[in-house]
């Protein structure tokens, strides 16, 4: 396949995760729904497929009976999809307790979607000290026990190391792809987004194989001339098709991101466990050593400087803070990031995102203005 055909392949998968899920189920696979920072390697080592869900771009009808209007639309649309039967056939859903909104989905999920067991994953606030690691490990062990009950599969300790290796390899490819996008302005915002989105809907080894081919094809191409409007995006997610079209319409090239559903997931590799070393401990450390994320407690807010440095390193002309509506952790960080960008001479704009957005006119006006501003 050539570059265009490979991007088309990613696009099809990104656009229709349900078909992907149904195909896996038809093949007799077990599918487990996961969201941010679930230790997918454990699920992979059990022989199941971790399948990302961050909700979808759809109006909320059914889920309204469980939530007020002013709550995160990622969570609302996750429940909506569950209630509409979109996830039918999945063995379980694992949701970590990373923000106040996610903490309260479980109680509703159990009533609203009884066919798919809800498995909570409780993370500690203080993850760095040994007691934080012990707490994290206890959470992982509980998750595994509940997953074993839900799927009938067993965690295979010997496969866990292999799963860690596969995930590390995939992480490296995702980082390489991100760096290439900064060098190749012809990669559209939609294409870039499709690669990240599809990663959550495929077995990691399958996605890695496609991505390896894509990277090889991209490297054979000549980089086109840049629009001169290189942007770095931060936020929880920014994958709506209309949003990507807006970026393309105004010639905005995404040269890097701190999007949770994109680069943040692939930044850190798990240290390969030595022979005789417990592989789960290595996974625990992977989470406990993570930094630069709005959802992870950090009194020094190192994320702020991290974003400025990344944007500079990628030679971004401006920074977009894609703020998921009603996301408290991101709202807390944004004023600090905006100030730090101003100090570094990086134009920065905040734009509110919502899974239920039907009309993007205001987003279009803001992006058009931002493109004028940095162009």
């Amino acid at each position: 396949m050539n570059t265009a055909e490979l991007f088309e392949q990613f696009h099809k998968i990104a656009l229709n995760p349900r078909a992907q899920k149904d195909a896996y189920l038809k093949d007799g696979e077990k599918v487990v729904l996961v969201t941010y920072y679930v230790p997918e390697q454990l699920i992979h080592a059990m022989g199941a497929i971790p399948f990302h869900t961050y909700g979808g771009d759809l109006p909320v009808n059914e889920a309204k009976q469980y939530f007020p209007a002013f709550i995160c639309s990622v969570m609302q649309t996750m429940l909506e999809l569950g209630m509409r039967g979109t996830f039918e056939g999945c063995s379980a859903i694992v949701i970590p307790s990373l923000c106040d909104s996610l903490k309260c989905i479980g109680q509703n999920w159990k009533y609203a979607v009884p066919s798919i067991p809800f498995i909570p994953l409780t993370y500690p606030q203080n993850r760095k000290p040994d007691y934080g690691a012990a707490f994290t490990r206890a959470g992982y062990e509980r998750m595994v026990r509940e997953l074993e009950a839900a799927t009938g599969l067993q965690l295979d300790e010997t496969r866990l190391k292999e799963s860690i290796r596969i995930y590390n390899e995939h992480n490296a490819l995702m980082r390489e792809f991100s760096a290439l996008c900064a060098e190749y302005p012809q990669v559209t915002a939609t294409q870039r987004s499709d690669v990240y989105k599809s990663a959550g809907f495929m077995k990691k080894e399958e996605h890695a194989q496609l991505l390896r081919e894509l990277i090889a094809c991209m490297k054979q191409e000549v980089a086109q001339k840049s629009s001169g409007k290189r942007i770095y995006i931060s936020g929880i997610l920014a994958d709506a098709p209309e949003w990507n079209r807006i970026l393309e319409d105004y010639g905005l090239q995404v040269v890097g991101d701190d999007i949770l559903a994109c680069s943040r997931l692939y930044r850190d590799d798990c240290r390969m466990p030595e022979d005789g070393e417990d592989a789960m401990d290595a996974l625990v450390r992977l989470y406990c050593d993570k930094d630069h994320c709005s959802l992870l407690y950090d009194e020094k807010k190192s994320r702020v400087e991290f974003i400025v440095q990344e944007a500079k390193q990628r030679k971004a002309d401006g920074v977009i803070l894609a703020l998921t509506k009603f996301c408290d952790p991101e709202e807390f960080d944004n004023p600090m990031i905006k100030d730090a960008c101003a100090e570094a001479g990086l134009p920065c704009v905040v734009i509110e995102m919502d899974r239920q957005m039907q009309n993007y006119e205001q987003a279009r006006t803001i992006m058009e203005t931002f493109a004028d501003m940095i162009g």
Binding site: A342, P347, Q362, E368, T369, D372
Partner: protein
């Protein structure tokens, strides 16, 4: 050389014809916005007022909510960029623009050259916009232009605490049923718009000179309340309602020179 800027807003359509990028030749305003025949009427009126025909125009730029669907324009440009150009043209000392339109509010910070240094827009809520004042004026059975007269005569403005236009309407009805003084009630309404706009302005950062554009700038009740909230003088820019159209005409001139 004649360039035309048309600002197709949510409630009004405005046109400005600029001569050689320096002199305002004619202006027009029709109180009908996007999706109506307002833009076409404003266009015809401005040509008539300038004594020109379509053939005399060198370039047309459309801005505002209806810019994408206006086919007679040579180019489109965002209303924030146009407002920045228009206000800087009128007042080069301006460093912060507060624009309250029919359906949105925006704050634009300018650099020394008139370029946009930062900007913020309100979310998709009518609170703190011209629409809020329209709703309240309707409720009080007075033209929106009368709000200023009442607001400036107030001794003890009442407090309207609700952020939402619908809830604020209930609050105003409740005040009316208690027979509060009309001037104090109208001043409370103006203060309420000013307080939401000031919060938005503080997010962008206030640098003097602060200018106000948009239709609401003509309501000095809001203007002076905003000045109090921000603790800096806020001046009404001349032809406040035409800044988007003026900026579009300037942008059109810049396209052809």
């Amino acid at each position: 050389m004649y360039t035309l800027g048309i600002d197709i807003g949510s409630t009004t359509s405005k046109c400005v014809i600029l001569e050689d990028g320096k002199m305002i030749r004619a202006m027009s305003l029709v109180t009908a916005g996007t999706g109506t025949n307002g833009p076409a009427q404003a266009y015809e009126q401005v040509l008539q007022s300038a004594g020109l025909t379509q053939a005399d125009l060198d370039y047309v730029v459309a801005t505002g909510y209806g810019r994408k669907t206006y086919e007679a324009a040579d180019a489109q440009m965002s209303e924030l960029t146009c407002h920045a150009k228009g206000v800087y043209f009128q007042n080069p000392k301006c460093r912060t623009i507060i624009d309250i339109g029919g359906q949105d509010a925006k704050v634009i910070r300018l650099n020394e050259n008139g370029g946009i240094a930062d900007f913020v827009m309100n979310d998709k809520c009518a609170a703190g916009t011209g629409r809020f004042l329209d709703v309240m004026a309707g409720l009080l059975q007075m033209p929106v232009s009368d709000l200023q007269k009442y607001a400036l005569a107030a001794k003890e403005p009442v407090r309207i605490s609700s952020t939402c236009t619908v809830f604020a309407e209930s609050e105003v009805i409740s005040q009316l049923s208690q027979n509060v003084d009309m001037a104090n009630l109208v001043a409370g309404i103006c203060n309420s718009v000013a307080s939401r706009t000031a919060a938005l302005a503080k997010r962008a950062g206030i640098r003097e000179t602060v200018c106000m554009s948009g239709g609401v700038a003509q309501n000095h009740g809001v203007l002076s309340a905003l000045s109090r909230e921000l603790d800096v003088p806020v001046v009404e820019v001349e032809y406040a309602q035409y800044m988007g159209a003026l900026g579009a005409a300037i942008a059109a001139y810049e396209k052809v020179i």
